[in-house]
Assembly symmetry: C2
Homo-oligomer: 385 residues x 2
């Protein structure tokens, strides 16, 4: 029995439904941000993040900072690039465009490799781009929440190591960390930025990131100071190192309640093998995508290899409007999201399937959503051709 | 009866002890950040902030953004000043220095009027500084959490209106909003930045601010784009305006749980006249400062007119170390903070008295703390001369 009151089941691509114990941690009594109790909680949280990202390299540096996931872009753009430096942005939708905009604010010279809506840039075009110019950094949106397109990090990294090994590989993992495999060390990633409210399963309000030793050296070797104050990795790195060493430290006040909730969520996540967690997300995703196909619907991410496992972006069939289908789902207790990719926004809807909704099948969230979709389409006058 | 487990009473200058209902709002079940329920909650929260800041001018613009209080400095520095413009920073301690550092990161040309430790810049010196150069902005730390020094905003504003009326008046209200009077319109303030975890009484994680129509015009008239992405007021202003008009809108995901807690806290705050709230903080502060004096102790803020009403920074008597006194208080269930002003850090301690600890006298927090201080000093070998 859940301790939460009855409420519509939230199945958007973040925030997701939260576990009871995680929500209860949000109400933790007030503690000093530099007192021994909280310092220990925060330190353990940072150490657990290393396991979630599968990094054992002591040079890797985790950061947990109050903010939205978007703050992660500012952290990357204001610390790891200097004005006028070249960045290659692989574009798979709304969120890759946002990352590009953020990089430009801090003076980066951005080149985008754009893929048609619903697909991702292909390795040969990326190789061509990397060969034409020396890039300080390449960024990739692991799962673009606007399209459900999944990028392939391992092969991308192998390509970068071969063609342009100095280039930093930065991953926007907002909609992928904790539901898609990320082997930080093995794949030689230099940075992954994410947020609390998606597959990690903690209420929104934390920017969570991991940077490699190479990224930290890039920070140290800057010719100009970081171009942000609150998002300055130079201001935060010693604080994170002190907390992890269980020493009190202060730059700006962290949120003890959100960090407690993250501690609870990471303890749950790491209590089982990560491979099992990823497999369960993959199985649920496969089942959802099969049902979507069996209903005669198409996904925004056309190619099965490019499809995310924590969300599905679904094209509406001819004659069915999101403004009809979403309220119909809501009446059945299911909350989905509308489209946000500007080229196709009214034509599709988004179904998030991450965290407890997938891992605790006794909740019945996924089955309830698929049934609601079928019934909702019928009510909207749709019949499979 | 509190629903919180027994725990040490947190009496540092933020985070503070939280009300039960506020903490329970932190565990609110998950909601879409663009769903009608949360949009309404967020919209009401923004409207309530207008009342807390005592502004009825429709041109005033509230902002609530995930982040620490420090993010408020970035919001000001990256939006309201352009590189090379002059800013006059009134310095009363650690936090004024921090604001100056942040302004410099974004290219401001900073002049500081520094006061000796424990006092504030005087009006004649400020007038002299304002007469020597045309400043785009003057910043003042309403209560410097490092010293407990209170600045006088009304007279300062009158001076600025008389000598340099174009200059924007920006207040760091992190340790003053909701415990010290702030009449935003009447005092012609252009910006007040604060955080959730002090007198407002909500767990850390929200940057809360109010800007005047003049500040918003300054933003619109920038020659260069805002120098930050996540802290860009241009990115956030339409979002805040939409939420307040109860329309869903998206730039970066807000934290529904923290916003619910803020909604609960503001509803409580505004259920009684603000003047009563400020008077109660003043009364408790007077009682505390009398007891401190009767124990033969001196405050860091020497002049009674310069003393904050939500905290007291107390010099340790000869022979008593913070490393002895603070653990002695902790054993008695009271958590105070050490010093952080670099010139005097080991020589003083800080006692925060804001929110429920002051407003709900049946808790007995203040009396317990004063008794613990007296007993703790005795245990540390101190006897009043």
């Amino acid at each position: 029995m859940s301790s939460q009151p009855e409420h519509p089941t939230l199945l958007i691509p973040g925030p997701i439904e939260f576990d009871d114990a995680v929500l209860q941690s949000m109400s933790h009594y007030s503690e000093s941000h530099v007192g021994p109790g909280f310092v220990s909680t925060f330190g353990e949280t940072l150490s657990m993040l290393r396991k979630l990202f599968q990094t054992t390299d002591p040079a890797s540096q985790p950061f947990v900072i109050s903010g939205s996931g978007t703050l992660g872009w500012d952290i990357v753009a204001s610390n790891l690039v200097e004005p006028g430096e070249d960045v290659l942005v692989l574009t798979t939708g709304y969120f890759s465009d946002g990352f590009a905009d953020c990089l430009k604010v801090y003076g980066a010279n951005v080149t985008q490799v754009k893929a048609p809506v619903g697909s991702r840039p292909q390795l040969p075009e990326i190789e061509k781009a990397l060969s034409e110019k020396k890039y300080k950094m390449i960024t990739v949106t692991h799962v673009d929440t606007s399209t459900g397109v999944l990028s392939e990090l391992k092969k991308l990294s192998e390509l970068v190591q071969r063609v342009s090994p100095e280039t930093l590989i930065i991953v926007d993992g907002v909609c992928s960390v904790a539901c898609e495999e990320i082997a930080f060390d093995e794949w030689k990633l230099d940075g992954v930025v994410t947020a609390s409210q998606k597959a990690i399963g903690v209420p929104a309000g934390l920017s969570i990131s991991m940077f490699s030793g190479k990224a930290m050296q890039t920070l140290q070797k800057r010719k100009s100071p970081p171009a942000s104050y609150f998002a300055s990795m130079k201001n935060w790195a010693p604080i994170m190192q002190n907390y992890e060493a269980k020493k009190p430290s202060y730059f700006a006040t962290p949120s003890p309640q959100l960090v407690h909730a993250l501690h609870t969520a990471l303890t749950q996540i790491l209590s089982k093998p990560l491979s099992e967690r990823f497999a369960k997300h993959r199985e649920a995703s496969d089942r959802i995508k099969q049902t979507v196909a069996s209903l005669g619907l198409k996904q925004v991410a056309a190619n099965p290899d490019d499809q995310a496992h924590g969300m599905t972006a679904i094209y509406l069939p001819e004659g069915v409007k999101a403004a009809e289908l979403l309220p119909s789902l809501a009446k059945k207790g299911i909350v989905w999201a509308g489209g946000i990719h500007k080229e196709i926004a009214p034509k599709y809807v988004r179904f998030g399937h991450m965290g407890v909704s997938v891992l605790n099948p006794e909740r019945g969230d996924i089955e309830k959503a698929l049934k609601a979709l079928e019934d909702g389409l019928f009510e909207c006058g749709y019949q499979k051709a």
